[in-house]
């Protein structure tokens, strides 16, 4: 499956599949390198992001208060679901004007990116190879950068609403006086707790999505390896395990998209509440 003519070992196959197509042309050496950008993640997330807003826009364009078609009804169910959740969590109608659409976008976008996992693991990389692209990962959310990028986005929204609702002074005051109370000795502890909370929220938010999708992708690769043994056991095993995992994964991709959306709403909701 790799660029070479010889069949790759299992290890090479996995490593090859987990290598991003990035701006350097080879696997990233250091853990953090801000000069590198993953072209495959950007391509698929932007294409699917455009698909997301296009599908939603199609429904919005023809939205009428009359009898809805099936497509409109489906989008409406989605909008209504997000809207109801947002109403329960965020009590400011003004904030909901931005946060609800944000949650809807996040849900559909992540769902689409996750759903790329259901395509055969070798399909798009193989097609890419025909055009001279040797590395490719198609599941945007299985890239930590994408997942963390979105969770940092949510963090920025939270900070924005913290300042908007409580005022800059109010928010800073809260950073030093909550959760343990207002006492000079407690200020540093409070501040450290708040910082840990923000970091933990953001990292766990992104990591949860990334971990689930990365693991899911990895399992698909292992199942593909099983089929790659070209034995009867491998073939039957591939079909059975692949079917079971793919069916289970339908739940995972929806659930992870939903969890990401719900946590977005919860975190923004928390930004609205004073301690």
């Amino acid at each position: 499956m790799a660029a070479g003519s010889a069949a790759p070992t299992s290890g090479e196959y996995i490593v090859h599949h987990l290598t991003h197509l990035n701006s350097t042309g080879h696997a990233q050496k250091s853990v953090i390198d801000w000069t590198v950008i993953n072209i495959d993640t950007m391509f698929y997330s932007i294409v699917l992001g455009l698909a997301t807003v296009f599908v939603l826009w199609l429904a919005a364009r023809k939205a009428t208060s009359g009898v809805p078609g099936r497509f409109q009804a489906a989008v409406e169910i989605l909008v209504d679901m997000v809207s109801e959740q947002a109403k329960g969590i965020i009590h400011s109608a003004e904030s909901r004007k931005f946060v609800s659409p944000l949650a809807l976008t996040v849900f559909v976008w992540i769902f689409f990116m996750n759903a790329m996992d259901l395509l055969p693991v070798d399909l798009l990389p193989k097609i890419g190879e025909m055009f001279g692209i040797h590395y490719q990962r198609v599941v945007g959310t299985a890239d930590l950068n994408a997942a963390l990028g979105m969770s940092v986005g949510v963090l920025l929204v939270c900070i924005y609403y913290n300042i908007k609702i409580k005022g800059l002074g109010g928010w800073i005051h809260e950073l030093f006086t909550a959760p343990f109370g207002s006492h000079p000795l407690l200020y540093p502890i409070n501040f450290i707790m708040q910082m840990i909370e923000f970091v933990a929220k953001t990292v766990s938010h992104g990591m949860r999505l990334f971990g689930n999708m990365y693991a899911g992708e990895l399992v698909f690769m292992l199942i593909a390896l099983l089929g790659g043994t070209a034995t009867v056991f491998g073939f039957v095993g591939h079909i059975i395990a692949g079917s079971i995992w793919a069916i289970f994964h339908i739940l995972i991709i929806t659930l992870q998209a939903f969890i990401f959306m719900m946590l977005t709403l919860v975190y923004v909701g928390q930004a609205h509440e004073g301690h």
């Binding site: 390198d33 950007m42 939205a63 208060s65 004007k97 996040v106 990028g149």
Partner: protein, 156 residues
Amino acid sequence: MNLNATLFAQLVVFFILAWFTMQFVWPPIVKALDERAKKIADGLAAAERGKQDLELATKRSTDALREGKEKAAELIANAEKRGAQLIEEAKLSAKTEADRIVAGAKAEIDQEAVRAKEQLREQVSALVVKGAEQILRREINAQAHSDILATIKQDL
């Protein structure tokens, strides 16, 4: 799992997509949903109103029917009463008329009787005078006794 600039690119894309949805997707759909909810509520209210109207109309028509029946019954009763009264009046007037005619006839009969009596008296007296005249012609002078005759005639 390496971190790189993809994170920031994704961050920007995230906000652009959210902005697009907020601007062009969310408002029309939510508006349509709200409008439909209102339409349905209005429709239900209209149906409820229609039902009430129907009930009211049914009640009114029943009332009108009953009233009509009552009025008709009253009219018939009045007519019957009036008829009876007319008959009664006619009877009464007929009886009065009859009485009057009978009384008139009686009076006329009485008059007629008096007149006949008068006539009869005159004829009898003439007859008497004539008889007496004939008797007296033989015996006495009629002139001499005419005053007596006149007295008799008066007494008759």
